[in-house]
Symmetry: C2
Subunit: 259 residues, 2 copies
């Protein structure tokens, strides 16, 4: 049995807020060994002071961007930039977010979500004496599928992949191909109780204590597929355009500009 619930009574988070104390207070004495605490990245960003003026949104996206993966302008003039940000995460607008932020401001992602997760996990373990894992979640779009799901952008004290090495299927054959990203599944599950419209940015997941472990387990950074191993490191239009330019250039190089 897996149980999930959102914590009630989390106040509006401001710069410098002590998230460990706030989460511990909201959880009361309910936290138990093996619980996984899923924290919406937005409140981590707020506590870390990652707010910038909305007028600087485009500049902020550019500053957070390591590499533009794809971009498109719709007929209505709305432009979408899918980029790889400094954390390696591919998402729209580098995760720069304008919902549930103070008017006139937008929020950047936490500076280092794995470190934020580790700080919260360390603090909760010390304060409550319970071995919990922590996931920092964000809402991400996907290739090929409409809509968004929540995924893990930070993690500490919790396995991000289920280790099936050495496991076999019901017929006794090794499960070699499968690497379930349980951290993303936990973040998605938590979204179902946190919701988007309410102020419930923290959820507890109970029932997968087997996934909770040392604080030095690999973080969510290990979920990011390096671009050089990614078959979708560039949008189809962008890759086509690069290829087209290279094709034209190669013919020119071979024959000279006058053939």
């Amino acid at each position: 049995m897996l149980q999930l619930w959102a914590l009630e009574g989390i106040p509006e988070i401001t710069v410098g807020a002590d998230l460990v104390q706030i989460i511990a207070d909201a959880a009361g004495d309910t936290l138990a060994d093996g619980d996984i605490v899923v924290v919406t990245s937005k409140i981590v960003s707020k506590a870390e002071g990652r707010s910038v003026a909305a007028a600087d949104r485009e500049d902020a996206i550019t500053a957070e961007t390591v590499r533009v993966v794809a971009s498109r302008t719709s007929e209505s003039g709305h432009s979408t930039r899918i980029v790889e940000n400094r954390l390696g995460i591919v998402s729209a607008a580098a995760g720069v977010d304008a919902s549930n932020t103070p008017p006139g401001t937008v929020l950047l992602l936490p500076q280092d979500p794995d470190a934020s997760a580790r700080a919260i996990a360390t603090g909760l373990r010390e304060l409550r004496g319970v071995q919990v894992g922590v996931i920092i979640s964000d809402t991400l779009g996907r290739a090929w599928r409409e809509g968004q799901t929540d995924a893990a952008i930070g993690a500490a004290g919790v396995r991000v992949f289920e280790d099936l090495r050495g496991k076999t299927d019901a017929e006794g054959r090794p499960l070699v191909v499968t690497l379930p990203c349980v951290a993303d599944e936990l973040a998605s599950a938590a979204e179902l109780v946190k919701g988007k419209a309410a102020r419930r940015p923290v959820a507890i997941v109970r029932g997968r204590a087997d996934l909770v472990g040392d604080l030095d387990l690999p973080g969510a950074r290990s979920i990011v597929r390096p671009a050089e191993r990614d078959m979708f490191r560039l949008g189809a239009d962008e890759a086509y355009d690069q290829g087209y330019a290279a094709g034209v250039q190669d013919v020119w190089d071979e024959r000279g500009p006058n053939g």
Copy 2:
């Protein structure tokens, strides 16, 4: 509070198995209005007789493929084909699966997972007199992120997207951009209790009765983003190669083969 559990006692499924009766028997009298039943596609495929000889695996993948999106051969000679299958779903090997299948066989995806979901939802509603939703889940890889998560490839009687139109954030601003794909989140959450190694192919999710509704709600087909609107409809290498060939061709067309 969201509660999830896997049904125990589901037998090995064979061709023609009555999944409605089998799920109802395994659930006993625990099913309630608003429950969401998440069924691993594998047992639906088995019941529908979608098994083919393993020797025909490559031919089966080709037959299920509408369009090759990307392909790659690793240094060890292992080849990966990311394809769009006849359901519009982009995945490795068109969802043709060799784990947890009888030796010497592989399984194709259900013929029409939305129809399969509808049949199971209709049957369970009639047999048990409870308004349940049904999701057919499969394990899918992702662009940009390592590992796999479970997602919804069939759905009936359950909202696949949470409708936030008209909803506002905590600051009163409309939540226009966000379209949470709750069906995929439910499938991911259910994977956390079903697992890959055990024979627990059916999970119940209780606590989001607000997502359960009429049997004619849009199915999981509505999650599929049409290729023409997808910025990642083609792998980067494939798009580059197409562009390169077009660039070379255009120079030739302009100047003739002898410049």
